[in-house]
Structure formats: structure tokens, C-alpha cells
Point group: C2
């Protein structure tokens, strides 16, 4: 079995030095996030992740979930672990205190969720839904609905789901058909089928609260006719406790390549008279609310990228330190572990560099989220909200693509032992394959980035971000020992600027433009990674100058930044080239050419 | 289930235009390879692959192999398909006529093997071992051994295996411990354990012929003490038929992520007095002979890269033509298949371009192999032998990496349906994950390329190849409609030249040099792909000018070449940059940094 140890030192360094933990802790409503408390939280979470969740990860993979009639049976140990997780209060970590949460900043909960996903992604998907659903209900639910449902969701007593997909409506929610018909007492009866519903059915909690997109009888066509409904598995009795079973059935679970521990359900609503549900927010305005939950999920899936990558890296490093094979190419010695082979070392350093780059971006984004939500200065809050909006598709799209690459590379370090299931690294690779797909594929993220985030505002926020990257390059250039890195970072900024120029100049040619969306996402992700790594190097030098921390560790961070700029950043040029040239060729490529 | 149709048109175009089928058919001993015969062979093979092997692929995946006691039970239908395959004479297609083969050039058998691997890789691994073993025995076995064993191996009546790996000896064969002790009558008794033996045990054939690396009592240490033994599962009786069971036991089969239909065995030799075997070739010279078999296997695994990629591409294309989702971003129409989305089209064209690039390289290499073997002019033969030697690690290493990328991209086209097992594309992705590992990982291929193939001769053959690439660029430049591509191809040649310069200048610093081995392999693969795509475009233009063939098809080949040069070739710069810079950073990175 693979061990997992939360990478506390790396997490803390990035929280403090790149994501501005200290400043976040000074924001209104964030004052609890003192360094001591945060460290204590991370340590406790690390213990829980390593001790309770990680050992269940292979169990979930091997046993999977079973559908028995309409019951979904979870893997052994899942229920006990969930109860422990819930009782320890982990679900409410960053959720509203008025509903029983701890109200800590997203910056603090982000590394904690990274740990849950590293330890056992299939398991952690369950409580993550509670977090997203809380965000959505907090914004759109009535006071009465909040009073009825939110405490139980925040505590995790009841589970949550997100019901969007239907067989004909996957990436395109405009095709949603699920119907909702008003009842006489102001509720609704829902009819239809939803597919790919994570944890759509299970018996880990006494109730499940489904948030469901459906159409009212008078709904306009398309996404502007979608309303949001809260539909519980069990209707509540007069005491507010789960009573009568609602008209929802799990009729199938998917046989998937990975995340076997997480049931992916087909739910049939209303086969027996209609599933009773309650409208959340205004009629026909459901999509915007669902997107609050979806955006939270997207960010979390980005975190899954770094989380699976970290677990894979730890596994590969442990194997490379232990497995003896071949001769040291320099000394000629045999009997040394494979970590001494230059190519194995290259793979591991490359993994570690990308982990730090992803973490830098994700934790920074979490901090921006907190600033956007809590900063008293509207202008500051607004800038950070725009940054979060711009980079959300990058956090999701790029970090999941890189996370897959890392799991792939870990298998390569294991060689033949990576392809056999017993070592556990194959599970990470299989599990990871879903993260570039669910909550919007990389293509969907890239279209969002290009269309809604960049073109709609003529690249304004991206230009602002490029300015920040250039400022970091200026700081590098002024630094005695890091000056040589400035050119490479500036280069990334220039590439981004040129790309924005090109995009704006080709706005009329939609097909050509959108053929470059994914390359653009890779370019921006790679460049943001370079920016974060440059900041990492500057921070490490600063600590070094103040003689704080472990000199070897600080030096290694600087080397990681150098490595990233030398090996990852150059691919941004290729992505930029593809962005500018792929579309034109594609437009000449006819259907007969396939 | 996924359909498979052999891509005959693409195969024929590349055979004729890039790999020089006509010239090969004029070589001594290759005269049977007339265009008519070759087309007939490809058509028949395509039917067999689609009709018999492809439907068994999911069966193999779902049922896998079972170990019952010491028996390995193959999936249902495997035995009947193997008998049909054998009876049709497919195994001997390119094997020596004096042992019952058809003696066709490797150029002809290469697309045929591509088909077998596309249709059912786990199955086709079995007969592929007969081909490799025949090559090895033809070179090293005594006349008596050839007479005893080869006819049955060429016909496929008996199966073949390749026994190298031991628990402590994977990539490093110097650590091999298997012992061989001489008997009084000139045979040997073998003792020890071999692992990861593909088709090490099964009942698909009445006998299995193991080729085994082992050490004689007087063996020097290291790889210079390895001898090669032929060790049959059943000893032959006086009539030459399988008689007494030899002392070999299958004690375990691996639980793998993919190729479930192919049993990966742990074989224990000599637990009951010693497994009787026969020395092949000279004592202590076994590795060179085993490498004949290994090299054949490596090339075949490269072909598996294009084969799995092709199957994945066909699946993704079929899905993209059928699945309706979203609106056409240009016309605004809904109800159109997802192939109209620019990003989906980009993925499919990108897959197709890389398929053609890989095929161009692999089929060209197969043709060079035939020229090396059969050309009457020693100088010509020698040049092509050097090309084959130089590019074998690229054919294996690069094509398997790209093959994995294509299977990954196919899942992305399928979206959520790619992650569920029922569509079959997940199997391709899981199966493909082994090909960058077995028969030498990408890292091993890259070390071979750098150390044995480039540095040992100061880059001489590579410089010659670069000259060929530049010549193609000259032809492009002279062409009215392709002149604009010349710069991009020349650029690849320059990059290669600069990389060779850099390598030669840094020969002293082994660790720095070998840290760049895999980036070098990617660089050379990408550049060779660009070269082949440029040749493809030139050939398509030439046919077009002669008004031969389907104009739309020819035009699409030109677009594929443009697409490759616009999107893949630029990554060669990043690989080159990594080659030159990664090693220096790594040498500063200490053990404490992980």
C-alpha cells in the first residue's frame, strides 16, 4: 500500500509566502486564521488523512460500490470513516458559523482538501459536495430553507449532490429535459432522469439532499429556462427528521475506470407520481445558482490535480529510493537506488516542480477568493474577484491536465511495477483520468476562459495579470542571484501579451479562435506556473537572506524554480504557436479528410 | 463495442510513397512483394483483424486470464482465434521460406502487425513472440536446433516466449541470477525464477518454447556472463513431439491495469531437479542473441503505439460524428455532432496527424530494415542498417509515448463516456500504458539512443539523417505550394544539429548529458515526424499533379502536414531547451530537496 504524508512544509511555505496567509488572517471575518491555528489544523488534517482515509483508498478501488436493488452499498469501512470525518467537524471547516461551520478562509481549507483528495479522492468527493451545496444555498435559498437544511448539510449529517447531467445534456445544459410541475401547496413534482450523479445514492447518511436542474411548465427554451430544486431522498416529517421516502430511484451505477469507491448514479425521478422538491431562488434562474456549486466543484477538481499528483510523487519517490537497479552512470557503483539515475531524478524533480507551481496557483487563487469576499476596499476586492474568475478555468483545466501527467510519470518511475495493480500507483493514474472530464472538460474550461473570461472584456483582467507577472520579472532582475531568471519570465509575459493581441485581432473568426482555446489554456497555465515559481524563488531567497528556515530546503525551492523555467516554460511557446496557427489549418480541413 | 477498420488507404499511401514499397519489391528475395500481392495481403489481414480479433478484445479485457493450479486459462474464444490465425499462415508472413514462412519483406508485415495490434493487442502479443524468436534462432541456433524447432515456431504450432526479467534484474540484466548446469549429454539444467513473462504459460498450443537467459557455472559477472537457452515446456519424444513435462511452473500471474487477455507469468525453473534446456549459440554470448529477439519486440512495440492510437482515433471519430451536443459555434445551429466543435476537430486532426507521422517513421524504418538485409550494394545496405539502429529507440520510445497521448486524447473526445468502461476506449488507454514500459522503458530507449547510438560514433549517422531532412526541406522550398513549410522543417534540422553539437561538447559530464536523454528522444521523434509529414505533403502534391487519387484525400494529407508542423514541431524547441538546461539544474539539486 502507498503511504501518504501531508507535505506540511511545502504547504506552509506556499501559504505564507505565495498566498499571503498573514494578510488573509487580518481580513474581517478571517481573524481566527492565526498561524498557530492554521498549523494545528493542517497537522490534525494530515494525521486524519494519513491514518484514516489513505488506508481505505485501495479498499474503495478493489471493492467498489454495489447496486443491490435500489440500494447502493459502499466499500467496507467507508461508513465508519465518514462518521469520524463528520464528527471531527471537517466538513464545516470553511463554512458559515451561523450554520455550525468554523468559517475559516478558503485559503486554509484548500490545503486541507488537498490532503483529503490525496488520501482518498473517491471518498472525499462525498463531503466536498456538502461544501459546494452550502455555497449555493447560502446565496439563493430562502431563510426558511436555510433553517431547514443548512445545519445538517454543514455538519455532514446529511449528504449533498449536484444533479445536472442528462443523457442528452452533458456539456450542453440547454438540452435539459427534467420537468418540475407545481403542486397545490407551493412545492413541485419532478419527473425525469439524471445521469453521472456522484454519490447520487448511498446509505452513509440518513438523508441525501439533491440539488436538481429542471424546467417549469412555462420555462423558456435553453439555459434561461432552468430552475433549481432541492429534492431530498427522504421527505422531512413534522420534526424535521427524514420520514417518507421520496420518489427517486437509483436505477444504475457506472462501471468506471477509476474512483470505484464513489458511486456514479443514474437517478430516476418521479416514476411513482413525482419526486417532491422545493424551488431554490427564482424560477428560470437556476443555472446561476447551480454554477456557484459548480464553480466550487471546479476549483476542488483543480485541487484534485495537485492532490493526486502529490500522492503519485510520494509513491514514485519512495520507490526510487528503495528500488535497486543498474549502475550509477557517474561512479559506476552498483547497488544504488534508481534515484541516482539521471532520468529518474529528472522525472522526480520535474514532478516536484510542477506540484509547487500548481500549488502556488491554487493557493494564491484561494487567497484571492478570500480577499474578494472579505476585503473592505471594494477596488481590491473587485480586482481579486476578477482574478479568480479569469483563472478558475485555468485552475481546473491546467491543474487537472498536469495532475494526470504526474500520475503518468509516477508509473514510469515504477516501470513494470507501475503497470501491476498491487503497488497502488495504477489506481492513482486511473482515478486521475476523470478529473479533466467531470465538472466541465478541459475543452469546456478553455472555451469559458477564452469566450467568457477574456474576449468579453477585451482581455482587460488578463492584461492586469500580465502586468503582475512583469513586476515579478522586474524583482527577479533586480536580485543578485536570480537575475538570470528574469528573461525567461518576461518572455512568458510577452508571449501572453502577443497572444491577447492575436485573439483580439481575430475576434471575427470564431472557429479559428476557438480551435486555439485549449492551447491558450495550457499557455496561460504554464505561464502562471512560471510566475508562481519565480515568486517561490524570490521568497526562498528572502528567507535565506534573513537566515530563516532550512538552507538546503530553501535552495531546493530555487532549483525547482530554475528547473521549471528551463523545462516547462519553453512549452508555452509551442502552445502559443499552436494557438495562432492551428485554427487556420483546421478551417481548410474537410470532413472527407478524416 | 468499438469497431475497427484497417486504414488501408493510409497504409497503402505510406507504403508506396514514403517507405518505397516498389523499390523494396525489386530487392533480391523480396520479389514476391508485388503491389497486387501486398494489397491482397493487407485486405485479407484487415478482414481477419476486424472480423475475428477485434470482437475478442473486450472479452479478453473483461475475462482476463486465470491461474488454476499451475494452469493458465485464457479468455473464451482465444484458442479458436489462435487456431484460425495460425492456420491462415499469418505468423510466417515475413519469416524464412526454408522453415515454412512466406518470406515477405518486413515492410509488408509491418502494417499487418499494426492491424493485429489495433484489433487485439493482448492477443497479438502471443504470435509476435514467434516472429522475434525465429529471428533470434535463425541467427544463433545450430542447424540441428533449427531443424527441430523452427518449423513449428514459424507455423505457430508451438508458442514462444522471451525470458529475461528476474525480480532483481529488470532493466539491468547484469543482475541476472538464473543458473544453468551442464548435464552429461551436453544439455543443461536450469534453476531460478523469471518474472513478467508474457504468455509464459497457457494451453493455446501443445508446446511452448522458452528462450531463457541464464549463467553457466564458469560465467563471468555482468552481462558478459549470460548464455541463452532454449527450454521447452514439454520435452520432445523420439518422434519430435511434445512428451514429458519439463520442470517449469507458472507460480503466479500479474493483476495488471491492462492487457488482461495476455497472461504475465512468474515462472519457476528447476524446483524438481532442474528444467532441461539447450544452449543456443556460444556460452556467455547469449545477450547479443536475445537482443535480436528484443530488437524485434521493440520495433513491434513501437508499432503497438500507432496501432492503439489508430484504434482510439477511430473510436473517437465515430463518437464525435454520432454524439449530438451543444451548438455550432459558427452557425449557431444545434443538433449537430460534436465534431463541428473546433476543439473536438482539433483533437481529431491532431490525432490523425500524429498517426501519419508515426506510420511514416515506422514503415520507413521497416523498409530500411529490408534494404539493410537485402540490398546488393553493401554501402547502401550499411547506411540503412545504421539508420535502423539509430532510430530503433525512437521508433519504440517516441511512438509508444505518442500512442499513449492519442489514447488519452480519445478519452477526452468521449468525455464522461470515455471514463466508463462500456465504450471500450478506456481499455485502449489502460492497455497502452504498458507500451512505454515493456521491452525497455522510454528512459532505457533514450539512454540507448544517446549512449550507444549517438555518442559512440560522435553523432555521425544522426548527422547523415539531418542531411536527409535538410534535403527534404530543399524540396519543399522549391515547391510552388509547399515552400512556406520549408522553414519549419529546416528549423527542426538546425535544432538537431545544435543538439548534437551540444552533446558532443558535454561528453565529459555524463550525469548532465543523460538527464537530457528522454528530452532528446522526444526531440528526435518529433523532428522525424516532421520530416515524414513533409515527405507526405510532397508525395500528395506529386500525386495531385499527376491527377492520381482522390483530390480531397490528397489535400487532407497536405493539411495534416501543415497541422503537424504548426502544432507538434514547435514542441521540439522545448525538448531541445530541456536537453541543454535540465542536467545542469539537476546536478545542483540535492537529495534533501525531495
Amino acid at each position: 500500500m502507498l503511504d501518504y504524508q501531508a507535505p506540511l512544509r511545502d504547504m506552509q511555505f506556499i501559504l505564507e509566502e505565495l498566498a499571503g496567509l498573514e494578510g488573509i488572517g487580518e481580513l474581517p471575518e478571517c481573524e481566527d486564521a492565526s498561524p498557530d491555528l492554521v498549523n494545528a489544523v493542517l497537522e490534525e488534517a494530515g494525521k486524519f488523512a494519513a491514518g484514516v482515509l489513505a488506508p481505505l483508498n485501495p479498499v474503495g478501488d478493489q471493492q467498489g460500490c454495489r447496486l443491490e436493488g435500489e440500494r447502493v452499498v459502499a466499500p467496507e469501512g467507508w461508513k465508519a470513516a465518514y462518521d469520524q470525518f463528520r464528527e471531527a467537524g471537517w466538513i464545516g471547516l470553511s463554512l458559515p458559523p451561523e450554520h455550525g461551520g468554523q468559517g475559516l478562509p478558503k485559503l486554509v481549507s484548500t490545503p486541507v482538501w488537498e490532503m483529503w483528495f490525496s488520501a482518498n479522492m473517491a471518498f472525499a468527493m462525498l463531503p466536498q459536495l456538502n461544501v459546494g451545496q452550502t455555497e449555493a444555498l447560502t446565496i439563493a435559498a430562502s431563510e426558511k430553507q436555510k433553517a431547514t437544511w443548512l445545519d445538517k448539510i454543514v455538519s455532514g449529517e446529511w449528504a449533498a449532490t449536484m444533479n445536472l447531467t442528462e443523457p442528452q445534456a452533458g456539456s450542453d445544459l440547454a438540452a435539459t429535459r427534467m420537468r418540475a410541475e407545481p403542486t397545490e401547496d407551493g412545492a413541485f413534482r419532478l419527473y425525469g432522469q439524471k445521469i453521472f450523479i456522484s454519490y447520487g445514492e448511498h446509505e452513509l447518511t440518513p438523508n441525501i439532499v439533491h440539488l436538481v436542474l429542471a424546467r417549469l411548465p412555462d420555462a423558456p427554451p435553453g439555459v434561461k429556462g432552468l430552475s433549481l430544486f432541492l429534492v431530498p431522498k427522504y421527505l422531512l416529517d413534522e420534526r424535521g427528521e427524514p420520514g417518507q421516502r421520496n420518489d427517486i430511484r437509483c436505477i444504475a451505477i457506472e462501471h468506471k475506470m477509476g474512483i470505484h469507491g464513489s458511486p456514479t448514479c443514474t437517478l430516476s425521478y418521479g416514476d411513482d407520481g413525482g419526486a417532491l422538491g422545493y424551488l431554490v431562488g427564482e424560477p428560470h434562474q437556476g443555472l446561476a445558482t447551480m454554477f456557484v456549486m459548480m464553480n466550487d466543484a471546479r476549483f476542488s477538481v483543480g485541487v484534485q490535480g495537485v492532490a493526486l499528483g502529490e500522492r503519485a510523487y510520494q509513491a514514485a519517490l519512495a520507490y526510487a529510493r528503495e528500488r535497486v537497479q543498474g549502475r550509477d552512470i557517474v561512479s559506476g557503483e552498483s547497488g544504488r537506488p534508481i534515484l541516482v539515475h539521471p532520468d529518474v531524478k529528472r522525472m522526480l524533480v520535474s514532478m516536484r516542480a510542477r506540484l509547487m507551481a500548481m500549488r502556488g496557483l491554487l493557493y494564491s487563487a484561494a487567497g484571492w477568493f478570500d480577499i474578494a469576499r472579505h476585503h473592505p476596499d471594494d477596488e481590491v476586492a473587485d480586482k481579486h474577484r476578477r482574478y479568480v474568475d479569469l483563472l478558475m478555468p485555468v485552475a481546473k483545466g491546467w491543474c487537472t491536465e498536469v495532475g494526470n501527467d504526474l500520475c503518468d510519470e509516477a508509473i514510469q518511475v515504477f516501470g513494470g511495477m507501475g503497470f501491476v495493480e498491487e503497488t497502488g500507483v495504477a489506481q492513482l493514474f486511473r482515478d486521475a483520468r476523470v478529473i479533466t472530464i467531470y465538472e466541465g472538460t478541459t475543452g469546456i474550461q478553455a472555451n469559458d476562459l477564452l469566450g467568457r473570461k477574456i474576449l468579453r472584456e477585451d482581455g482587460a483582467t488578463l492584461r492586469e495579470l500580465i502586468g503582475d507577472i512583469r513586476e515579478t520579472a522586474v524583482r527577479l532582475r533586480a536580485h543578485e542571484r536570480l537575475g538570470d531568471l528574469a528573461g525567461a519570465l518576461d518572455d512568458q509575459a510577452t508571449l501572453l501579451d502577443e497572444s491577447v493581441d492575436w485573439l483580439l485581432a481575430h475576434q471575427a473568426d470564431t472557429a479559428v479562435l476557438f480551435a486555439g482555446a485549449v492551447p491558450l489554456l495550457h499557455l496561460l497555465g504554464t505561464a502562471c506556473g512560471a510566475w508562481q515559481m519565480a515568486r517561490l524563488a524570490l521568497a526562498a531567497e528572502a528567507r535565506h537572506e534573513q537566515r530563516e528556515g532550512d538552507a538546503e530546503y530553501l535552495q531546493s525551492l530555487i532549483e525547482l524554480a530554475r528547473f521549471y523555467l528551463a523545462t516547462q516554460a519553453p512549452h508555452a511557446h509551442a502552445h502559443g504557436h499552436t494557438l495562432r496557427h492551428a485554427g487556420a489549418v483546421l478551417s481548410h480541413f474537410s470532413e472527407q479528410g478524416f
